[in-house]
C-alpha cells in the first residue's frame, strides 16, 4: 500500500507510466483473492485427490499408497451402493418436484391480483429459516404418537377416506407409519423436507424470470391462434423461461447433492434405518471426520466434486448454446 501511494505521488511521465502503475495496482488488488482461492479452494481439491490414493489418517505421521483401493471399495461395498442409491433418489426426487412446484407457484402467484405478497412471503420463509432447527420441528411433527401428522391422519379414520384410500384404511387398523424409523419412508421424508425448504427459492427466481417475458409475445401468440392458457404457456412462457430453468435446475441439483443437516439431525448414528438415507455428505462426515478413515472420505469427496463439475459444465454448455426448451 505504501509503495502504491508513493508511486502515485511521483509526477506522471506519460501514458506508459500510467499503464504500468495501473498494472501494479491491479495485481495488488487481486493478489489476496488469488492467494486465498489457491489455498482455500484449489489446494484442498488437490489434497483430496492425493489422499484418496492413500490410507492416511490424522495422528499418524506415515501413510501408504494404496492405489485405487479406496475407489474400488466405493463401487463394490454394499454400504456405498446404498450411499449412491440414497443420494440419487434424493436428488432425482427433490430437483424436479421443487423446480416444478417453484414454477407452479410462480405462475399462480403471477396470475392473481390479491394476496400476492402474502403467498410469496410465506413460501419464502423456509429458505430463510435455519434448516437444522426446522428439521427438529419436523421431527416432532412426524412423531409416531404425539406428532401433528399422525394426529391429523387419525382424524380421517371412520370417514369416507378410510374406504377410498388404502393407506388410510391400513393406518387406522395397524397404526400410522413411524416415518423416520421406517426404511420404506425415511428417504421420502427427507426428500419432502428438502422440497419444502427449497421450492420457495425457485419460485422467487421464476417470478423474476416471468417479469422479463414481454407482453407483446403473448399478443403475438394469440394472433397466431394460441387461444388456451396451456398453448400460451407452451409457446411463450416456457421457452422464455429457458435460461431461468437451466439455472434453477443446476442450483437445485448442487444443493440437493449437499443434503446433510436433516440426515444428521434425525439419525446422528449411521444414516437412517438400514442406511436408507446414507447420503454422500453424511458419508464424508462419518468416514473422514468421525472414523478418521481419510482415504475413504477423500475418495467420496472426489466423486462428489466430479458430479458437481459435470452438472455445472452441462449448465454452462446449455447457457452458451442459449437453448430454449419448447
Amino acid at each position: 500500500m505504501a509503495e502504491l501511494t508513493s508511486t502515485l505521488a511521483k509526477p506522471q511521465s506519460g501514458e506508459q507510466d500510467a499503464a504500468r502503475r495501473q498494472r501494479r495496482a491491479a495485481w495488488a488488488l487481486t493478489l489476496p483473492a488469488v492467494l486465498l482461492m489457491g489455498v482455500i479452494l484449489l489446494v484442498p481439491v488437490a489434497v483430496a485427490a492425493v489422499l484418496s490414493f492413500t490410507d492416511f489418517s490424522l495422528g499418524n505421521d506415515s501413510f501408504n499408497w494404496v492405489g485405487f483401493k479406496n475407489y474400488d471399495r466405493l463401487f463394490t461395498r454394499s454400504t456405498y451402493a446404498k450411499m449412491f442409491v440414497a443420494t440419487f433418489t434424493y436428488v432425482v426426487t427433490v430437483v424436479p418436484i421443487s423446480v416444478g412446484l417453484g414454477l407452479g407457484a410462480a405462475l399462480l402467484i403471477q396470475s392473481i391480483t390479491h394476496l400476492r405478497e402474502v403467498y410469496k412471503t410465506i413460501y419464502f420463509l423456509p429458505v430463510m429459516a435455519t434448516l437444522l432447527a426446522m428439521a427438529i420441528a419436523w421431527e416432532f411433527m412426524l412423531h409416531p404418537s404425539i406428532g401433528m401428522i399422525n394426529r391429523t391422519l387419525e382424524l380421517g379414520c371412520g370417514t369416507v377416506l378410510e374406504h377410498i384410500w388404502p393407506f388410510m384404511a391400513n393406518g387406522c387398523v395397524q397404526g400410522f407409519p413411524v416415518w423416520l424409523g421406517d426404511k420404506r419412508y425415511a428417504i421420502w421424508v427427507i426428500s419432502f423436507i428438502g422440497i419444502w425448504q427449497g421450492f420457495g427459492f425457485n419460485m422467487v427466481l421464476y417470478l423474476a424470470g416471468l417479469t422479463g417475458v414481454h407482453r407483446e409475445l403473448y399478443h403475438a401468440a394469440e394472433m397466431d391462434g394460441a387461444k388456451s392458457g396451456w398453448e400460451r404457456f407452451r409457446l411463450v412462457t416456457w421457452p422464455a423461461l429457458g435460461p431461468t430453468t437451466v439455472f434453477v435446475v443446476t442450483i437445485s441439483c448442487i444443493r440437493a447433492f449437499q443434503v446433510f443437516d436433516t440426515v444428521e439431525a434425525f439419525w446422528p448414528q449411521g444414516g437412517g434405518p438400514n442406511k436408507s438415507t446414507y447420503v454422500m455428505m453424511f458419508a464424508i462426515f462419518e468416514k473422514g471426520v468421525q472414523q478418521n478413515l481419510i482415504g475413504a472420505g477423500a475418495s467420496i469427496t472426489v466423486m462428489f466434486l466430479v458430479f458437481v463439475m459435470i452438472l455445472t459444465l452441462i449448465q454452462r454448455w446449455l447457457v452458451e448454446r442459449k437453448v430454449h426448451y419448447g
Partner: protein, 320 residues
C-alpha cells in the same frame, strides 16, 4: 377474485403446509409438557401455572436448612417444617409455561453465548469477504493488466467448487495447523467468496468509466477509488451479497459441526440447538422449541421487515 378461487385454494393449502412446522415450533415453545403430550391448548396453551419439578428438587431442604428455619416456624416438628418449606419452594418454582420454556432455553445452555458466537462468526466472514472480494472485483472489471483473463478464468473455475464439498481436506489442513476448535477454523474457509467477486465484478462493469477517470484526475489512487468511489455506487449489490452471505452462515450447520468438537464456548446457534436435542429427555420439548424459535427468529424478523430487499437480494445473487 371470484374466478381465481381455485388458485387461492391451491396456494392457501400450500401455505398451510409450509407454515405448519413454524406454527408447531412457536406453539410448543408456549406450552407446558402436559399440553404437548396430550396435544391440547390451541396455539398459546392455557398458560396455567406449572411447577418446575427440577427446581423444587434442587430446593429440597436439608437438615441444616430446617434447623435454621425453626425460627420462622415456631412450635412445629421438623417434618412439618420440611413440608412447609417444600410448599414454599413449590410456590416459588411455579410459573407460566411460556416463562418456563424461554427461561430454560437461556439457562440450561449458554444460548446467549451461542447467539453471540453466531454474530461474531457471521459478521467476521462477511467483513473479510468484502475486504477481499471488492478490490479484486474492481480490478477485474475496470483495470487492464497482464493476467486479467487468467484470473477471471480462475474465478469462473472456482465457482464450480462448493466449499462444503471440500470440507474434509480443509478440515485436515486446519487440523495439521492445530486450528480446529478456534474461531479461525469457523471463519477461514469462507474468507474467499468467489461468488462475491463475480457478483461485484458484474456490477462494477456497469459503472461508467468517466467516474473513475474523474477520480484519477483528482489524484486518487486505485485503492482509494475502490473504497471511496466504487463501493458507494455498489450498495445495492453489496446488500444483496450481505443477505446472501449472512443467511448462509448463520444457518450453516455442516462446517461448524466438523471443526468444533466439544468446546461449547465456540458453539454457533445450530450446534447449540443440536447439543440441546442430544441432552434433552422427553419433557424438554418446550424449552427446545423455545431455543429453536430464538435461533430462527432473527433472520425471519429481518426478512419480514425488509421482504423486498431480501427477495431482490436473493434473486440478484441468483440471476448472476
Amino acid at each position: 377474485m371470484t374466478h381465481d378461487w381455485w388458485k387461492h385454494l391451491i396456494l392457501t393449502l400450500g401455505a398451510l403446509i409450509v407454515i405448519a412446522p413454524f406454527y408447531m415450533m412457536v406453539s410448543y415453545s408456549f406450552k407446558s409438557p402436559g399440553e404437548i403430550d396430550r396435544g391440547e391448548g390451541g396455539f398459546f396453551g392455557r398458560q396455567e401455572l406449572m411447577v418446575d419439578e427440577r427446581c423444587v428438587q434442587l430446593r429440597d431442604p436439608n437438615r441444616d436448612e430446617i434447623t435454621t428455619a425453626r425460627t420462622r416456624f415456631p412450635n412445629q416438628t421438623d417434618r412439618q417444617i420440611h413440608t412447609a418449606m417444600v410448599a414454599e419452594a413449590t410456590v416459588d418454582c411455579s410459573m407460566r409455561p411460556v416463562v418456563f420454556n424461554y427461561s430454560k432455553a437461556f439457562t440450561e445452555a449458554p444460548l446467549l453465548r451461542y447467539l453471540l458466537n453466531g454474530v461474531i462468526v457471521t459478521a467476521s466472514i462477511f467483513f473479510i469477504q468484502v475486504l477481499v472480494a471488492v478490490p479484486a472485483a474492481y480490478a477485474l472489471a475496470k483495470l487492464k493488466f497482464w493476467g486479467r483473463e487468467a484470473v477471471f478464468s480462475l474465478v469462473l473455475f472456482c465457482l464450480l467448487i462448493p466449499v462444503h464439498a471440500i470440507a474434509l481436506p480443509l478440515y485436515i489442513m486446519l487440523a495439521k495447523l492445530g486450528l480446529t476448535n478456534t474461531y479461525a477454523a469457523l471463519v477461514v474457509p469462507w474468507t474467499i467468496s468467489v461468488f462475491g467477486i463475480f457478483l461485484m465484478r458484474q456490477f462494477f462493469m456497469t459503472v461508467p468509466d468517466d467516474l473513475i477517470d474523474a477520480a484519477r484526475m483528482d489524484g486518487m489512487g486505485e485503492f482509494a477509488i475502490v473504497w471511496r468511489v466504487m463501493l458507494p455506487t455498489a450498495i445495492p449489490a453489496l446488500l444483496a451479497f450481505a443477505i446472501f452471505s449472512i443467511v448462509a452462515h448463520w444457518n450453516d450447520y455442516f462446517w461448524p459441526r466438523i471443526v468444533v468438537t466439544g468446546n461449547r464456548d465456540l458453539f454457533t446457534p445450530p450446534l447449540g440447538l443440536r447439543e440441546f436435542k442430544g441432552d434433552g429427555d422427553g419433557s424438554f420439548f418446550g424449552p427446545m422449541m423455545a431455543t429453536a424459535t430464538v435461533i430462527v427468529m432473527p433472520l425471519i424478523v429481518a426478512f419480514l421487515l425488509a421482504q423486498k430487499r431480501f427477495i431482490e437480494g436473493i434473486t440478484l445473487s441468483g440471476m448472476k
